[in-house]
């Protein structure tokens, strides 16, 4: 593996290989889903700000808190309804090969995660009410050390992926 020191050409070839992001993107509907869930969260936050504004006179908090909350609410809404969903969708990539699961995602911090197939303990698909409306599902992959998710895949794709991973993960390897 330490060809790095002797053979620079080889290294760059391999590194290029790795830098190529995984092949598949998640469902384009995910953008709308994230916009809506962002909107719902913003509404809840706005209601809290409103509640704070109405009760502000009952106890005497420092004057700068309300403007700060207001700015946070405005920025939060802009970010999570208008900006982040599109960026998140543009970044998300995944690939499931026979040997491992390869994930690439992140808005502010980019993540590239490799999960060996032999380490997968089980795989679930789940769907909340909002995801159901868009006919999307989230695939959750569990290892002995926590969970990884592929969010917002079309129902059929998610089901197929779950079946495929659980089949591939059945390979018995060195035990945990």
């Amino acid at each position: 593996m330490f060809c790095i020191k002797t053979d620079i050409f080889y290294l760059y070839l391999e590194v290029d290989d790795l830098q190529a992001t995984p092949a598949y993107q998640i469902d384009p509907q995910a953008v709308s889903y994230w916009r809506w869930s962002g909107l719902i969260n913003s509404i809840i936050f706005w209601m809290m700000v409103l509640a704070y504004y109405n009760t502000m006179n009952l106890w005497n908090p420092p004057g700068w808190i309300f403007p700060a909350l207001l700015i946070a609410a405005i920025l939060g809404t802009i970010f999570y309804v208008f900006l982040v969903p599109q960026i998140r969708w543009n970044t998300w990539r995944y690939d499931v090969s026979e040997q491992e699961i390869d994930l690439y995602f992140g808005v502010f911090v980019k993540h590239r995660t490799l999960i060996p197939m032999v380490r997968v303990q089980h795989v679930d698909t789940e769907q909340g009410p909002l995801l159901r409306y868009f006919q999307l599902s989230t695939v959750t992959i569990s290892t002995a050390a926590g969970k990884h998710q592929i969010p917002a895949l079309a129902d059929s794709v998610a089901a197929e992926l779950r079946a495929r991973i659980s089949l591939l993960a059945r390979v018995v390897d060195e035990d945990v």
Binding site: V15, E100, H111, T113, R119, A144, V176
Partner: protein, 473 residues
């Protein structure tokens, strides 16, 4: 072992005491209230013995129903008086076997045997509170011989055995983290002492007395400080001697056998293949002395955090490599690492210096004598520098060594098959400098352990993920 066995009758006493303890714990506030009422107090004379009788009967029935045996490669337990339960644990699922002896067990010359699996929850999956030593040993033999491979080592002398010498034990107690805890606890108590003992002003009395001896306030303060430190040191020493007195570690075939403890003797068997990672921890007090403690990460739920997974409480760093080679050769690597690129040095410093700077500004603005906090700046700078210097990583023979420091220096050794997942992350700013953060997850009970190395060169981290990857490599 293959036919059903009961526990030693002393188990009744153990059940009785645990049940009463549980009841008292749950009912204590109510009982205190009841004691205030004279009518209830009269009734208590009748009720208490009656309750005790009920508990004894229940304990005896529980003992009668508590049956264990081995069948079909499973350890089986049947128990329960009102609700009958059967618990079968297949040998493959067993993570560790722990043998200990509390006061009751010692009284009857018995031991308590606990079997842990990787399941969630905070209690041992299967506990045999009172069995004879011979039975415990026979049981352990069966479990080991069927779970692990047969012991390759024939005679006792070939086994690698490590013990804790008295000077090492003293050093352990004197440099333990518990020293700080005890100190903090004592200072809290001292500051509350006036309130605890009403009507007396202890501090005035004390300084009067000390004043006669030293006749100076500075002297008094010094005297108190020295006394507090001495007491804290003694307590920490005592605590560590109780926990680790009589420590011995043995590599026996495919198991690590640890026994320790002065008051309660504990014996712990850890199958090697259950060990996920080995960690070398150099605390800030120990590192200057060149001492290190060695721990293991296993999947278990009863493992007390802190001392439970220590396989060598204290050892010289220079002997650590030798220790690894002899005791856990599966985890042996030479302990040198490749340093991080120079361009991540400034980030290590900044990440310590900026919060310190904010704190100093706030303190100087709001607190009297706040400018004294300026001392934080060189400390933060120094910490950033050594954090950078100590951080590093190496891959050797399919084993990864990651070293980093928050305050104490921690080196984690993980074989490739034990890595559950590997992530490379980078922020916008890191990407501009072609730096990344490497994160590795290892299994450890209910919560995963993440091992992190910030500020790696991008190409280097890609080579690492190529080493890890099954399909890209």
């Amino acid at each position: 072992m293959y036919e059903p066995h009961r526990l030693h009758p002393a188990a009744i006493l153990e059940f009785l005491i645990t049940n009463i303890y549980k009841l008292v714990q749950a009912m204590l506030p109510l009982m205190l209230l009841a004691l205030g009422n004279s009518v209830i107090r009269k009734w208590l004379i009748v009720i208490l013995p009656l309750m005790l009788l009920c508990f004894i009967i229940y304990g005896a029935l529980y003992w009668l129903r508590y049956v264990y045996y081995i069948q079909d490669h499973e350890l089986r337990l049947e128990f329960g008086v009102i609700v009958r339960k059967k618990r079968y644990i297949s040998f493959e699922r067993i993570q560790t076997v722990q043998v200990s002896a509390g006061v009751i067990q010692r009284l009857f010359g018995l031991v308590k045997l606990q079997v842990e699996t990787a399941g969630s929850g905070s209690n041992a999956e299967l506990s045999l509170p009172a069995v004879s030593r011979a039975k415990a040993e026979a049981l352990q033999m069966i479990l080991q011989n069927t779970t692990g491979f047969k012991s390759a080592v024939a005679n006792e002398e070939d086994l690698q055995q490590f013990q804790l010498t008295t000077p090492a034990l003293l050093l352990l107690g004197s440099t333990s983290n518990s020293l700080g805890l005890v100190l903090a606890g004592m200072l809290t108590i001292i500051s509350q002492l006036d309130k605890l003992i009403p009507g007396e002003n202890i501090w005035e009395r004390f300084s009067e007395y000390a004043g006669q001896v030293l006749s100076e306030t500075v002297g008094t303060i010094l005297l108190i400080l020295v006394a507090v430190f001495l007491l804290a040191w003694l307590l920490s020493l005592l605590g560590n001697i109780i926990l680790f007195g009589g420590f011995s570690l043995k590599r026996d075939g495919d198991n690590l056998k640890i026994s320790r403890g002065l008051l309660e003797k504990k014996q712990l068997t850890i199958p090697i293949r259950r060990i996920q990672a080995v960690r070398l921890v150099e605390g800030i007090l120990r590192q200057p002395l060149g001492m290190v403690s060695i721990k293991v990460v296993t999947i278990s739920n009863t493992g007390e955090k802190g001392e439970g997974n220590v396989i060598m409480p204290i050892i010289a760093l220079s002997e650590a490599e030798d220790f690894l080679r002899k005791v856990v050769p599966e985890f042996y690597v030479s302990l040198d690492t490749e340093p991080l690129p120079l361009r991540s040095r400034i980030r290590y410093i900044a990440i310590n210096l900026i919060p310190a700077l904010v704190m100093v500004i706030l303190a100087s603005y709001f607190l009297p004598y706040g400018y004294l906090s300026l001392i934080l700046l060189p400390l933060a700078l120094g910490l950033g520098k050594i954090q950078y210097r100590d951080a590093g990583l190496k891959v050797q023979d399919g084993i990864m060594l990651i070293r980093s420091r928050t305050l104490g220096r921690v080196s984690t050794i993980i074989p490739r098959p034990k890595i559950q997942s590997l992530s490379i992350t980078y922020t916008y700013f890191q990407a501009r400098n072609t730096l990344t953060t490497l994160k590795i997850s290892i299994a450890s009970g209910t919560v995963a352990t993440w091992v992190k190395l910030v500020g790696m060169d991008e190409n280097r981290s890609l080579v690492i993920s190529q080493w890890f990857s099954r399909s890209l490599g």
